[in-house]
């Protein structure tokens, strides 16, 4: 049953660009990007029990680094992409050192504060970031001679990257390290008594999540060919957090579903419903009331109850 569903999903994703118009192809490309972003945050929120409100830092910094390296130094994407990812990961390491001094609400506030520092910098350091005007004149890379400016090609590029990211995140979750991470979430003190270095486990997860956040940032800047301080803003972090919660924290598919819902509401439904932000609110209230642990676990439970009958 599961295999058939997975196969159908793969076929649908592969056939999608040939079945619909350019707009819908781009819409799903954006969902891939948002899904990677939410999935990386889910490592912290869902598996590590570390609610972060600063995850936009990684998306934004990777995007800004890639943009600045190619604009200011004129380096090619084959250099700017790894440099941007390395820089983002390094920053995640540093941020982890600061933010992981606390857990729970303290961690939330620290990540929020750190990301606000970056947002402020992007806004105010006009000489470097062009401030509120944002950086433009960016390009998409050429991958194996394929021109990513074409929306279908970009779709498949984003699909491959998203599939790889999800696979890598799933690998981590399924590994002994993933089990340890979930252990620190549920019983931090017991893990500590068992001889695990709780802090180190959290720090590694934080850096790993930062890295994949950076990957989504690269895709984001390739897609938009423009970067603005708004992508470092609290709103962006909060949207990812909402995706994770709505889809189901601590599940693999949850963040992807949640990201898809938010993006569809924001970019598609908003064309028909003027007060779409209100609708977004209602959707969340409904999810929290009827499926408090998120859509994916909620639907699973319904499915189980239905099939038992």
């Amino acid at each position: 049953m599961k295999k058939i569903a997975a196969l159908l999903l793969i076929i649908a994703l592969l056939a999608w660009p040939f079945a619909v118009g350019e707009f819908y192809v781009n819409l799903v490309s954006q969902i891939f990007i948002a899904a990677i972003f939410a999935a990386s945050l889910n490592l912290l929120v869902g598996y590590g029990g570390l609610p972060s409100l600063g995850h936009a830092s990684f998306l934004g910094v990777a995007a800004y680094l890639s943009a600045l390296i190619s604009l200011r130094w004129g380096l090619d994407h084959s250099l700017s992409a790894p440099l941007a990812l390395a820089g983002t990961t390094l920053m995640a390491g540093l941020f982890g050192l600061i933010a992981l001094r606390a857990t729970g609400l303290g961690f939330l506030m620290l990540t929020l504060a750190l990301s606000q520092v970056l947002w402020g910098t992007a806004n105010r350091w006009v000489a470097l970031t062009e401030g509120d005007n944002g950086l433009r004149g960016l390009t998409r890379p050429q991958v194996f001679g394929l021109n990513l400016d074409d929306s279908t090609t970009f779709y498949f590029f984003a699909l491959v990257v998203a599939a790889f990211s999800f696979w890598m995140i799933a690998r981590l979750v399924a590994s002994p390290f993933g089990a340890a991470l979930q252990g620190t979430r549920d019983q931090a003190r017991r893990m500590s008594t068992l001889g695990h270095n709780v802090w180190l486990i959290r720090w590694v997860a934080f850096v790993y999540a930062g890295f994949w956040g950076g990957v989504s940032g690269l895709l984001f800047v390739y897609y938009h060919k423009y970067i603005h301080p708004a992508s470092l803003s609290l709103t962006n972090s909060a949207e990812a957090m909402l995706s994770v919660i709505a889809g189901g924290a601590g599940t693999l598919a949850g963040p992807a579903i949640g990201a898809a819902i938010i993006l569809l509401l924001k970019n598609y439904v908003s064309a028909y419903v003027e007060r779409w932000t209100m609708l977004l609110g209602f959707v969340f209230v409904a999810i929290v009331v009827f499926m408090p642990d998120g859509l994916v676990p909620g639907v699973k439970r319904l499915w189980a109850r239905w099939s038992r009958r």
Partner: protein, 414 residues
């Protein structure tokens, strides 16, 4: 069914009529699709809604026909967020298949969509004021019938020196490129004519309280220039009054400082303030008299910057469409028609320079009371002002773009 001769002739005739009529007749059945990129949610929404209202009015007045062709309007809401403006532009182009776009509203949105507009070759009539879009990095698919950030501020600086005889002034504006550019343009002209800008302040866009900035304000000056957007000008002037500064320091304002949209909420504190804009609801021309009255009847307040913006852009669009006889499919010819168009609009005559920016009248206005409400009465007109003021374009463009730090403020007093 057997085919007799009569049926054959009928069918052939029908076929011939489909094939034989000139293409233009069939093209007319297809509507021209206009996209409006505006802001309907978030802090910029009041202006964005005015943009939509005025554009809908314009099209309704013409029965949704421009240059003999039916038009359809598609409205997208960017929320004022640049990345979303881009997605929304894609939606308009790729799903709604628009032929021409009006908007976006904010500079960041315009910059975010800049390369996409080039790539899609989408004729765009922009409202956003960012200077460089029609200066150092002009987009060939852009025209801007409103103004750059500093276009009106140049004229006001001239007025402050020559008519008001101000010598020493302070400037205050929102801490965004729009505010920086406006203040920089004002400062440049003011200081080149012998004035001195002795204080510059840039409070954050969303500052809740101007108290600290009012306490800092020097009182040994002739006036302060407000470069605010949205409702910030309104809040500043109200607090200015509460701090007892009214009568001690004069206020002059940029094109969005005391817009009609906020003026309706103000009382005596705004009376007598001089501002500059390329439009006023009180402009005395037949087109505007009709528009302002119709808008007032529908919205219950006077049209301001944003309402006039789309109304002007729509008039330019209609005029260019007439020039190409409704054939918008030939984008290059249509773009040429847009850029060479000369249109009579509610703001007065509008034409474009070779960078796609408007050359049009700039008005100096004064807040007065009329029929129980505050209005911006026009007190002086600067005819045919270009974005380069009186400078030569080539020399103007050699300088860096207007910013917080350029032109350098040499006369600041601490």
């Amino acid at each position: 069914m057997t085919i007799n001769r009569r049926k054959f002739i009928q069918a052939a005739g029908a076929g011939a009529s489909v094939l034989g009529f000139p293409a233009i007749v069939r093209a007319q059945e297809q509507a021209i699709r206009i996209g409006l990129m505006t802001v309907k949610t978030g802090p910029l929404a009041s202006g964005g809604l005015d943009m939509e209202r005025a554009l809908v009015m314009y099209l309704r007045e013409r029965n949704n026909m421009l240059a003999g062709r039916k038009v359809e309007l598609f409205v997208a809401d960017s929320g004022g967020v640049p990345a979303q403006a881009r997605s929304k532009t894609q939606e308009l182009v790729e799903r709604d298949k628009i032929n021409v776009m009006i908007g976006p509203l904010a500079a960041g949105e315009a910059l975010a969509t800049d390369d996409y507009i080039r790539q899609q070759q989408l004729p765009t009539l922009s409202v956003a004021a960012a200077e460089d879009m029609t200066q150092r990095n002009p987009n060939p698919w852009f025209v801007r019938g409103t103004s750059t950030s500093a276009q009106c501020a140049h004229a006001l600086a001239d007025y402050c020196i020559k008519v008001l005889k101000y010598k020493r002034m302070a400037v205050i504006a929102d801490d965004i490129p729009y505010g920086h550019e406006m203040c920089a343009g004002f400062q440049r002209v003011f200081e080149e004519l012998g004035g001195k800008i002795v204080q510059k302040m840039f409070p954050p866009l969303t500052v809740p309280d101007y108290g600290t900035f009012l306490a800092q304000l020097k009182t040994n000056i002739d006036g302060v220039f407000l470069g605010f957007a949205g409702s910030n000008g309104f809040r500043y002037v109200r607090q200015f009054n509460e701090y007892g500064l009214r009568g001690k320091v004069n206020i002059v304002g940029g094109m969005t400082a005391l817009d009609e949209a906020v003026l309706r909420n103000m009382k005596i504190e705004a009376l007598g303030i001089v501002t500059t804009c390329w439009y006023s609801a009180k402009l005395d021309n037949p087109l505007n008299k009709k528009f302002a009255a119709a808008f007032q009847a529908e919205a219950k307040y006077d049209p301001g910057f944003y309402a006039a913006a789309t109304y002007v852009e729509a008039a330019v669009l209609e005029n260019a469409l007439k020039a190409v006889k409704g054939n918008i499919a030939d984008k290059a010819a249509f773009m040429k028609a847009l850029r060479t168009s000369k249109t009579d609009t509610v703001r007065g005559p509008v034409s474009f320079d070779s960078y796609g920016n408007v050359v049009g009248n700039v008005y100096i206005r004064k807040v007065e009371r009329e029929e129980g409400r505050l209005v911006n009465t026009v007190i002086q007109t600067y005819p045919n002002v270009s974005q380069f003021w009186t400078y030569k374009p080539e020399e103007f463009l050699k300088n860096p773009v207007y910013s917080r730090d350029w032109p350098p403020a040499k006369n600041l007093e601490s």
